[in-house]
Symmetry: C2
Subunit: 133 residues, 2 copies
């Protein structure tokens, strides 16, 4: 997927969160070598803080490296945020995964299929209602 | 002050916070018209969350518009962060002010002199020890 498409998807997520009365910051990815790892989107409504790594695809799976996941978890622990992978396939809703619910591939990275996202992911409403673990 | 100088000062604050074991995000100012108001720097150590508006000057005062202050307070309330104005004069340390401790000018905006910053501002150590109100 093109970078601009990924960026547009992120904006979509930011708008959903704003509409649900979250305050949201979005991390620039152009920070270069000195930039410490940051989540794509950080959001809080004063009760719950989420750090999202956002993944979008027009195909039927998304990939996440072990390093990306570790960095998301590291930041979230330090910040006091809940880490979630936000996944968006074309023509589907957003689905959300706790880092502990991802399956590792033989190569040590992570892959989430569209089928699994729809079957096992939390919906945006579940996320904002905080009925998540 | 030039924009690059202001950016370098902000980076200084970010580094201080990192060294004090905070996780920190910094907001790009190039978001354009669709960008909602965000603090310059957002930091949390999992116990306390700060939203900073950073002001630096090589002269002896800094200015903050009423709008900037309102936006900082609005974001911070929604996010659940403590709003602080972070002020840095050349050759001085950082000083921090609660929005309620700023003096309004006749024009309805805010001005903080170097003298007042040094006399009344909280130090960085006071901020990170959370001995602040």
């Amino acid at each position: 997927m093109s970078q601009s498409k990924g960026f547009a998807r992120e904006r979509e997520l930011v708008n959903l969160l704003h509409d649900a009365d979250f305050q949201v910051t979005r991390t620039p990815k152009s920070g270069g070598a000195t930039q410490r790892p940051l989540p794509d989107v950080l959001a809080s409504n004063g009760e719950v803080i989420y750090a999202f790594e956002a993944k979008a695809s027009k195909n039927d799976r998304v990939y996440l490296s072990a390093k990306q996941l570790e960095e998301l978890v590291y930041f979230s622990r330090g910040f006091g945020a809940l880490a979630r992978i936000a996944i968006r396939f074309d023509y589907e809703n957003w689905y959300f995964f706790h880092p502990g619910n991802l399956r590792m591939t033989d190569g040590g990275n992570y892959r989430i299929s569209k089928e699994r996202a729809i079957a096992k992911g939390k919906s945006f409403n579940e996320i904002i209602e905080h009925n998540v673990q």
